[in-house]
Amino acid sequence: MDKLRAKVRSLLTEGKVAGYLGYLIKDGHPLPHFFTKENLAEVDQAMVAPDSARYPLDKLLIALAGRYPEAIFAIQVRGCDERGLNELYKWGQLDPEKVVPVGVACTQNQADYCECPGPWASVVDYGEKCLPVAKSRRVERIDTLAEQDAFQEWLAAFKRCIKCYGCRDVCPMCFCKECSLEHEDLMSTGQLPPDTIFQLVRAIHMAGRCIDCGLCEETCPADIPLRVLYKKANALVKDLFDYDVGSPGAGPSPWKVLGEDATLEAKPM
């Protein structure tokens, strides 16, 4: 932790960043906190949140950056958070020139729980790199189900939805001012469960954009295995377009360019 605190302190004192977005224990709870030069002493309490207490810091950063467009901020990032930064740069929501990441490596427990293929940031200021999890067993299990069974399983999950929009609200990648999930032409209103396609529409938006932080699933009061859906959506994007979400070298998002050639063909009937 000392290494991390030292880095933050020097960033703040040298004026390289206007603030640092990290975690601090408050009333016994680890909570997101904005550290500044003015309250430098707080840096001594700066910490890495335990696995069970993660927050969408990227999302807070978007809000901060929106208010102070000229300022540079440091932010604590796990592997997923950093993928988020990279995507948010591409989607025009953050400026890479204005962000200094403070990197964290996740524990093996966390990585296993998340089935995370990239459980560390590109620069590790805290923690040791653990083994990544290349394949998701949760996705594989659904993949092996008969179509009819997969349908029943998903249907049962989707029916539990109480349309709290928690998944969206917590998602660091949901930056739209206007959410199409709330468009009444697309989605029926005033009914529970929502339209069966509710989760699919969100999955479409997540495909090639989801950083697999898992906050949606943790937030969901109905225990819908959203992460499985989005993991698959990303895997499809990888299969179809060879695009690695959040990788700085992945090139433009396939959803943002027409492409010079159409490499895909329509499926035969």
Binding site: F151, I204, L236, W255, L258, G259
Partner: protein, 143 residues
């Protein structure tokens, strides 16, 4: 699932320049095809969003047929590049969730391909008849 009296509901999204014109040509040539289809004319197949397709399924479509210009023939040059990307992805996502991806079909049909248009509608209607009524609709009705 198959039911001989089942009359599927099919929505066709056809681009103005190729497939819609191909459909007109099928008409001019008096090529007959089943009347289950309801056509929504769009300027380019690239204007069909996955949202539109999902809404159609939600509202009771048993099949959605999207028709665009052949790759390279798009009146807007490359609008249809996006169509194939979106629809291929959507088909695969539907498959994962057990939503019967075969109910969504994309076909390139040019303004000159009246016979292909008629045949595609015939084949697709027949296919949907074989698959039977949409699972999703059954689920919606049960809810």
């Amino acid at each position: 699932m198959s039911d001989s009296t089942f009359e599927p509901k099919i929505i066709g999204f056809f681009c103005n320049w190729c497939t819609y014109a191909g459909a007109d040509l099928a008409g001019v040539s008096r090529l007959q095809y089943p009347s289950n289809i309801r056509v929504i004319r769009v300027m380019c197949s690239g204007t069909v969003s996955p949202h539109h397709v999902l809404r159609a399924f939600q509202k009771g479509a048993d099949g959605v047929l999207i028709g665009g210009c052949h790759i390279g023939d798009c009146h807007y040059l490359r609008g249809n590049y996006m169509t194939v990307k979106r629809m291929r992805f959507l088909q695969d996502l539907l498959k994962f969730t057990g939503f019967e991806p075969g109910r969504l079909h994309l076909e390139w049909i040019s303004a000159a391909e009246g016979p292909k248009f008629a045949q595609t509608v015939r084949d697709f209607t027949e296919k949907i008849k074989k698959i039977g009524p949409s699972r999703l609709i059954a689920a919606v009705k049960a809810a």
